[in-house]
């Protein structure tokens, strides 16, 4: 059999079979009519933008009043290198920072741990102690930017580092604004960067809720993420269902931890994928807002409208990028970004064309930002709110996605919630099935991917890529050694002991983590202290 990458294949002559279903496999009629939305009641089901149930948007003025935040996720190598990239993105008109950490940081390991071999600074920036966080934000005024940090298992530790940097800059925690991802459930479901078992992991999450509610009131304490669930292979409806059901679990745990719903729910934000199926994605965002509004008002009896309003970040679909014909990725990303904007996203990351090959270069990262700017300033789509509202098709899709998500809610509720559902592997299995079905559709060319299974060319000239060299690990090891040589060891030891005591006693771990960070305890030391108390999670490998 000839190889698909070495011989051009005939292009499909007409629309392939796959185009009669969405990328999630949902059948699509050739035309929609008023009959498809006959039960739709404008006030009840849509509402004006800014009015319950927010299907059309959470702000009445939409992007006329405030554009989305162009927040480009970036991080690689040493804190100094990433700091330079941030300054470049801010100078190019970026309006928020978003930190990508490397795997040792995400997994709570120091650079000198055996599993960190070859991973330091590779798919994000390495942050081991406060010294690294200080270098990362050197010369960046934390009162003038909002920062999003993609960190989950050790979220509390990294938030503590950020708060101590603010403290040292003289920026009040009361005014500090940003987001910590802090979403451990989707790690068990999809991305698999977990440390502790689910229940103690949820403890850390609610510790951040409780602490920030009191001390850092403008901080978004969680970004409940569907992005990774979708990347792992979920359909649009599964992304919607599992993400919002995770959101329900977090709210319930917060309430069970003694918090009042309206004290912390307004600081919950969401993070969705923006995939290739244009209308299905727009409908997904609209359905998400409507479902969340009802959940918060009717299930949790929240009284503050801000608790009802689903705010979300979005990122174009990394999984849709191809190594073949990489310039095609610019076009894919632009269309996906447009879907997120038409769906009313609050902030957006656009992927770079080279990300199926490596981390983006400065040039491709700038082009990705320019893509957003073209949408914002040249297409006219920002002039009005929810331009597709009322479309027979989009309203029907919105309703169908909502119903499918609510069916999943029922199934998970019957299992006792998302934590028990995860423990029995339910969402993991559902996603693996969808991933395999999608791959089979691609193999059978039911689904066309341009440059991959149709319109194939001989492999093109390679694009220039960002290469992380080995000096990064050496420099980070040297800094770690310096930190360990100059800090007060007794202070580190006693703070780690107090951290373990707080974990055992069920006290909030944030105040002791802040002390440990101030003493320059490392991420590995803090995480190990809690590993001793809580143990580590291991997944049973199944295929």
């Amino acid at each position: 059999m000839k190889s698909a990458t070495s011989a051009p294949e005939a292009a499909p002559a007409s629309a392939p079979r796959g185009s009669l279903t969405t990328v999630s496999g949902r059948p699509i009629a050739s035309v929609y009519t008023p009959a498809d939305i006959s039960s739709l009641d404008y006030e009840r089901d849509l509402g004006d933008p800014g009015a319950f149930p927010y299907a059309r948007g959470i702000h009445s003025g939409g992007y006329r009043d405030k554009l989305w935040t162009m927040r480009q996720f970036a991080g690689f190598g040493t804190p100094e290198e990433t700091n330079a990239r941030y300054k470049q993105l801010l100078a190019a008109g970026g309006t928020g920072l978003s930190v990508a950490f490397d795997l040792p940081t995400l997994m709570g390991r120091d650079p000198d741990h055996e599993l960190s071999l070859g991973e330091v600074g590779k798919c994000g920036v390495n942050v081991t102690s406060l010294a690294d966080m200080e270098a990362l934000f050197d010369g960046i005024d934390l009162s003038a930017v909002t920062t999003s940090m993609t960190i989950n298992s050790p979220a509390a530790m990294l938030l503590a580092m950020y708060l101590v940097v603010a403290e040292k800059q003289g920026v009040s925690w009361q005014t500090l604004s940003g987001t910590i991802q802090n979403d451990i459930l989707k790690e068990f479901i999809a991305q698999k960067e977990y440390i502790y078992p689910p229940r103690p992991s949820m403890r850390l999450v609610t510790d951040v809720f409780a602490f920030c509610t009191q001390q850092v009131p403008k901080w978004n304490t969680i970004s409940v993420s569907g992005y990774h669930i979708r990347e792992a292979g979920a359909t649009a409806a599964q992304e919607l269902a599992f993400t919002l059901r995770d959101g329900i679990e977090y709210v319930q745990y917060g309430i069970d931890a003694g918090l009042r719903v309206d004290d912390f729910a307004p600081r919950i934000s969401f993070f969705f994928n923006s995939h290739s199926d244009f209308f299905e994605e727009i409908a997904k965002y609209r359905a998400a807002r409507r479902i969340w509004a009802h959940v918060m008002r009717d299930r949790f009896h929240a009284a503050n409208p801000r608790s009802w309003q689903l705010r979300f970040h979005s990122q174009t679909a990394g999984v849709s990028l191809t190594a073949q014909q990489p310039y095609n990725n610019v076009v894919r990303t632009a269309l996906q970004a447009l879907a997120a904007v038409l769906g009313g996203t609050q902030s957006l990351h656009t992927n770079s064309l080279d990300e199926a090959l490596a981390l983006p270069t400065a040039e491709t990262a700038t082009l990705a930002l320019r893509t957003q700017q073209v949408i914002a300033y040249e297409t006219g789509v920002t002039a009005l709110v929810d331009p597709l509202g009322g479309s027979y098709f989009v309203e029907k899709l919105t309703r169908d996605l909502e119903e499918e998500a609510l069916t999943y809610f029922d199934a998970i509720d019957r299992m006792g919630g998302m934590v028990p559902a995860i423990e029995r592997g339910y969402p993991q299995k559902e996603i693996a099935e969808s991933a395999y079905r999608f791959q089979q559709a691609v193999e059978q060319r039911d689904r066309v991917i341009v440059g991959v299974n149709a319109f194939v060319e001989e492999r093109q000239e390679a694009v220039g890529i960002l290469y992380i060299d080995e000096s990064v690990a050496q420099r980070q090891l040297a800094r770690l050694e310096h930190v360990k040589a100059t800090r007060d060891h007794d202070r580190v030891r006693s703070s780690l002991k107090r951290l373990q005591a707080a974990a055992r006693a069920g006290e909030n771990t944030m105040p002791v983590l802040l002390d440990a960070v101030r003493a320059y305890a490392t991420i590995g030391e803090m995480c190990d202290a809690l590993r001793e108390v809580w143990g580590e999670y291991e997944e049973t490998p199944v295929i």
């Binding site: 059999m1 071999l117 070859g118 977990y194 999984v319 490596a358």
Partner: protein, 137 residues
Amino acid sequence: MGQKIRVVIAKPGLDGHDRGARVIARALRDAGMEVIYTGLRQTPEQIVAAALQEDADVIGLSILSGAHMHICPRIMALLQEKGLNDVLVVVGGIIPDVDIPKLGEIGVRGVFLPGTPMQEIVDFIRKNVRSRVESFE
């Protein structure tokens, strides 16, 4: 009918993105191979031990984090040490072009980037697996 081709699919390093590893494991199994999936965060030592214990004909490594130039040489050296020179080693994931020939030099026979059709991987394994296993077709 020959003996089934035995494949160990492994995720070395700290990365947890296992969609590719799981999809390819299933595809190889559906293609009639015996597949053992090691699960996440395996050290080179654990992977080679699994290959030895399972009498693997093929090791498939899924690496997306950029750590391949550390992990692969270690695995190849351990395979030499254990006398497993005829095990076919293939890598899938995010691998920069400049590293592909370097992986070839140390004995990695196939490198598959994002978007590779599963059938291409199945065919490659059947064609290149050691001869004691009768290849299909």
